[in-house]
């Protein structure tokens, strides 16, 4: 049988078959590699939590060091109330705060906030995840708070696809270090930390933004303030 390769029927048939074949190959690959990718993401998360504490780790020793430094973890609600008896996927480490942030069906008041309690050189620290929006996509990070419940001792930020050299610089040490020493509260009242453009970052409650990365920098500001406000509600009640 001679097939007319320029006919509409052939073109449609070819396209449909091609798309189905490609779809099957790609989805089975994605599912097949799923566990490996998931394990990598989990190790990375542990490394990020450790990095906010100022502990260097590699993919090899990340899990081990996490167990060594992180003593306890729990979850609070948007009103700053400790949550108990949560299902596994809503417990501190399993809780996907980014997914929760994206999910429009979960209202702001229903969001959950994990707290990781760490012990570094005998000092008690709290590691708090933050999530927000950059210019091109989500940004997230971890903030380590000292046990006076207000001083930031370290941060670690990351992003999905901010512009390399501009917005993506938020994940560099020089930017993360600018938050160190800032305070989220003054005399028991929450105080926001602003990201500034005029180079006055040396002043209190101010952090210098990134040139060319204004929207991403402002995204970091909003992310940190909105989330820290919630955590402070809990800390001010449970000092």
């Amino acid at each position: 049988m001679k097939v007319n390769k320029d006919g509409n029927g052939y073109t449609f048939a070819f396209s449909i078959i091609l798309v189905i074949v490609v779809g099957v190959i790609l989805s089975s690959l994605s599912i097949g590699l799923g566990p490996l990718k998931k394990a990598n993401v989990e190790v990375k998360k542990k490394m990020n939590i450790l990095s906010a504490l100022g502990v260097e780790s590699t993919r090899k020793d990340g899990v081990e060091k996490y167990d060594q430094f992180i003593l306890d973890s729990y979850v609070i609600s948007h009103d700053g109330v400790l949550q108990e008896n949560l299902p596994k996927e809503k417990q501190a480490f399993g809780l996907d705060v980014q997914k929760q942030f994206r999910d429009k069906t979960i209202s702001l008041a229903d969001r959950l906030y994990p707290i990781f309690e760490a012990d570094k050189d005998g000092e008690k620290l709290f590691v708090l995840p933050v999530v927000g929006k950059g210019l091109w996509g989500p940004i997230w990070g971890f903030i380590a708070l000292a046990d006076d419940y207000k001083t930031i001792v370290g941060t670690s930020f990351d992003h999905k696809g901010e512009t390399p050299g501009l917005g993506a610089e938020i994940s560099q040490n020089f930017f993360e270090d600018r938050y160190t020493g800032e305070q989220i509260a003054e005399a028991g009242i929450f105080t926001p930390i602003s990201v500034v453009q005029n180079g006055s970052g040396f002043e209190e409650q101010k952090v210098d933004g990134i040139t060319g990365g204004t929207i991403t920098s402002k995204g970091v500001e909003k992310m940190v303030n909105e989330t820290m406000r919630v955590y402070y509600k809990y800390f001010s009640k449970n000092k």
């Binding site: 390769k5 320029d6 052939y10 073109t11 070819f14 396209s15 091609l18 798309v19 490609v22 190959i25 790609l26 690959l29 994605s30 590699l33 490996l36 990718k37 990598n40 990375k44 993919r59 696809g161 390399p164």
Partner: protein, 232 residues
Amino acid sequence: MSVTEEKLKAPSEPLFSKKNKRLIIDPLSENNPITIQVLGICSALAITVQVEQAFWMSVAVIFVMIFGNLVVSLLRNLIPSRVRIIVQLVIVASLVIIVDEMLKAFVPDVSEKLSVFVGLIITNCIIMGRFEAFAMANKPFPSILDAIGNAIGYAWILLVVALVREVLGSGKIWGASIFGSNIPDENGNLSGLYELGYVNNNMMILPPMALIVVGIIIWIQRSMNKGLVEEN
């Protein structure tokens, strides 16, 4: 180019005939995709700040190129000509996703470093160019050779540019410092060349310098081989 292509269709030639060898050797210098055809410049500009990134980018491109050319060549008589560009795009896009998934699963650190650039392999003009110009009209074996030639032709330029930029811009090769340390130690002292007053050229890190380095390679290449210089 078209003469070579027609001759290739002749039946029963040895596997590594002169023409087949030319398929690999030509793109390395005389018909280099970057320096002569000036294709794929975008990634040469974006991904050459560090040798490591350039290396992994090259590996990814070589993989996509070889399998892409092979698949397109195998399907060349089946692909309806009206939708051939879309079909080629689907093939290159799927291969890139495969590479991306593999990197994420097996070398997650590399995947993080390349981030969005892996996805941009889809837009690398060299790949679509070879699909359309070569694989659509040639048998699988010559297509693989053509892919290897062009991908390596692309890769070596990428690596040379990255080497120049990383050495001059950051004083490192593959992340390892070669001129000593430019970060002061506890006593505020620098070491190696930096102690003598050497400073890294930060301009080399900026994207425009990639174009200038490519320009210099083109200059060297053309002064060595006058046949490449255009008449006017």
